[in-house]
Symmetry: none
DNA sequence: CTTGACGTAGAACACCTGTTCGCCTAATAT
DNA sequence: ATATTAGGCGAACAGGTGTTCTACGTCAAG
């Protein structure tokens, strides 16, 4: 066998990884299959494809299928360095409807997204955004056109500002949530308004508000 | 002519640049010609090629000829830096005081600044930010702790949301401003509240609100 | 009007590119 | 000994991809 395992990588796989890293650092774009073939000294494109699949299984690479230059080294540090997050706007908040949740399609849609400075959303990753329509969120100090950046979660801690859907009223709102036994206290952001109480069974937590953006 | 020059870029060229930047920030690789075509709403690949040549001449792009995904924004570092603006937080809004204006010292101070995605503040450059203390801005739908990003200016257009200082009351607030003869109509952002009128001589416009950020 | 520079549009071309298929070799397991 | 698995190879295919060519339209200057 011609393999010299490094970790669990064969010799060819190691050469491919090295070449991709070298290529990316020189060219800022990933190489094509045939560039890998020649650069890493692989005999055929099918062999490159073969090794790439193995490296993908080993979680060392990400690939965009059927896309040129679709191989990317998995480099979480680099992603972390990125200063701007693209947050998909997956829908709208309307008081009489549940808050939309992100799905795969919406995530892929590059048209509707807001860019948020990473420093605004400390480390949170899986975010989505909602556009507020109308003035039904006025007691959350949120007006028509505002963008609410949310983190998907079904449970929140005391004092979190969350999107809650009140099943008995068929209404979604943004409130600060406090657990009080079997009830929840929902407190409007507007301090001039009074909190009210609901049975925990009639409430669905749909996400936590991470930040609010208002373009003027 | 369908062009609306922005700087020295035509409308199409601007859309292409925006799309490429968006695409790169989301996908880590540059788009193909046809992805640009559809993403930027260009009618044909030849048109994309045509515009790309122009953008290359304008030194905004680098291209690898005859190579897939061979278009790269010039000086990625700079573009990367520019995707986030550092806006200095120069002070606080307190209803009983004039809104602070940025000075050289404050601008140098890198400690107190917020990062704002450039796409949030379309092109504006000389911005400063204020932190809202207390709930005096409740009628502007702004609560304690919010960050208001401002653009310094002394005159605003009808409907702009501006920081105004009422000299006769010795009070600063954020209101939408409408010129009505010698008076100004000041309209709270909260639609449930009534506008009121002041003599233009008793008002100092201190800046225009560009966006509002609320970390939760 | 003519001309020339610019912008637009569609199609075609030639090459690039990821993928797959069939066949091979060698080592290991049954 | 046979089957199985992993690694390897070349060729071909289908669609992606950058490029170029032709034709058309607009507008301002000569």
């Amino acid at each position: 066998m011609a393999n010299t395992p490094t970790g669990s990588l064969t010799d060819s796989q190691q050469r491919i990884m090295d070449f991709i890293n070298r290529y990316v650092s020189m060219n800022d774009v990933p190489p094509t299959i045939r560039e890998i073939q020649h650069g890493a000294g692989i005999s055929s494109t099918s062999m490159v494809s073969y090794h790439l699949k193995a490296l993908e299984r080993a979680n060392l690479l990400n690939r965009r299928e059927r896309s040129s230059r679709g191989v990317m080294v998995r480099d979480p540090e680099r992603v972390n360095l990125r200063s701007v997050l693209n947050v998909p706007v997956v829908g709208r908040i309307v008081a009489s409807e549940p808050v939309p949740m992100p799905d795969a399609d919406a995530m892929r849609d590059s048209e509707n997204s807001v860019q948020v400075a990473r420093s605004l959303v400390n480390g949170d990753e899986d975010l989505y955004a909602l556009e507020v329509k109308g003035n039904s969120m006025i007691d959350a100090l949120i007006s028509d056109g505002d963008i609410v950046v949310m983190k998907r979660m079904t449970e929140v801690q005391n004092g979190d500002l969350a999107a809650v859907f009140l099943t008995d009223r068929n209404e979604a709102t943004l409130k600060r949530v406090y657990h009080e036994g079997r009830r929840l206290r929902l407190k409007p952001e507007n301090p001039t308004m009074q909190p009210f109480y609901v049975d925990a069974r009639h409430v669905q937590i749909q996400g936590k508000v991470v930040c609010v953006l208002r373009k003027v």
